[in-house]
């Protein structure tokens, strides 16, 4: 493929990742020799990558499935603006299941004063269902997203 100053971004990234074929690598390096702008871009990319140290993968403790309110531990009311740290890819599966368990446990004495836990909301955002029923079969949580459980019934869609 051709290389020009407008099209090298992907190839610069691939160059850093050592993903280019020998031919493409030679072409990119040849282009870099004559292009200060792309050399600057490459330096910038390398600087960013250099800051990305490898960290251990997130893991969830085995006990997490046995706890109904694991996400409540240590939570405090949100600041005005928060940026979430990295989201371990497996956790939402547990979050959705645990959301159901937590909801099944029914209202608690001071539930109305507690902040709403974020995990079921994240589960909804990430397209996992947030559905559960309370003891005795009373529904207290609706299906996420396709809305058939409630929206059809109420005509509010």
């Amino acid at each position: 493929m051709s290389v020009n100053e407008h099209d090298v971004e992907e190839m610069l990234s691939a160059l850093i990742d050592d993903e280019l074929s020998a031919a493409d690598r030679a072409r990119v390096e040849g282009h870099l020799r004559g292009c200060a702008r792309c050399r600057g871009e490459l330096a910038s990319l390398r600087e960013v990558r250099g800051r990305l140290r490898v960290a251990r993968p997130h893991t969830l403790p085995d006990a997490v499935l046995d706890r109904n309110e694991f996400w409540l531990a240590g939570l405090t009311p949100a600041p005005a603006r928060s940026q979430l740290r990295w989201l371990a890819p497996s956790a939402l599966v547990f979050a959705a299941a645990a959301a159901a368990l937590w909801l099944r446990s029914g209202p608690r004495g001071d539930a109305a004063r507690r902040p709403i836990p974020i995990e079921p909301l994240l589960a909804a955002h990430f397209r996992y269902s947030v559905d559960a029923s309370a003891e005795g079969g009373n529904l207290i949580a609706a299906n996420y997203s396709d809305g058939w459980a409630f929206n059809e019934a109420t005509g509010n869609r």
Partner: protein, 337 residues
Amino acid sequence: MRRPVIVKGGLLALGLLSLAAGPAGAGSRTNLRELVLGAASVPYSGRLKFSHWNGAERVVEEAQVYFDPPGRYLEEFIDASGKTVRLAVSDGIQDQVYALKRGRLAASSLAVSREESADAARRWRLLLSNYRVRVSGSRTAAGNRPSWIVELRPKSDGKPWQTLLVDKETGIILLNRRYLPGTDHSSALSFTTFIPGGRPDPALFQIEARSAPPKTPPQLQPRAAPELVLDGAFPPRLAAGFVLESQSGFQFPGSSWVRHARYTDGLAFLSVFQTDRPVAVPHGGARGGAPLSTATDALSLLDFTTTLQFTRSGRHYLIVGDTSPALLASLARSIPN
């Protein structure tokens, strides 16, 4: 030399520009829309790698994937020791995710991922109005698979950039890289091996036949909810080209309904939650999130998450997305009192 194909929002017709100069395999894409949004139409298997960077943290996962068109897939997520820790399976209608605990099915969650694929034409129009899409060349991916380089660049600041490598023969996205310029947030989904053809054994998809059924949430028992009023709860449009895609609600003990609106700009997704109490966003960071339905919607790479919480007219709002905090603030301002 092949010149880049550039599509701008006002030139929708260019979306149908032919890429006929490329090799014409049985599953090859014939226009840009199919190249970006086209569903996989050939069976395949392979090994996927998910990489997520957030500042100094890097999380990598691998999954063995089997796909049987039109929509059946299995993804076996594997940890560093080679142990399967999670299964995502779909019969083409419902997506189910299973967590494994000591090799046994431990929990499951239904995942819904079909809505935007139901109207690909609308999504494409929206995507073109918010992103510049171009085929900038070709290179190899997943070993030596010739692939198109497709770049999606937002027209608004604060949105992630995305680059795809699309297999020329099958149209499968072999690499999907999404990153927010000016930050350390990045994620990538890539095939390290990709083997098209050969239908997978149907028994692979019978997950619950492998082990005792997992604990599952109780079955949903729908009932009318007159207190859930969604009409007018959320504006049809937000700033930066986001439009309302769907809305629904759920409830917590002792709480009124949590109303949830999902917005999209054709590529990115964000959620707006309306609640009667603040949401507990942990200082130490919440965890969760996963690429979902990579076989059926590989374009959507939901990943790093930014939140913004605010109060308006006595109601609490939480916006969740993967845009910059500055853009989230702009979106918040576009929610009327």
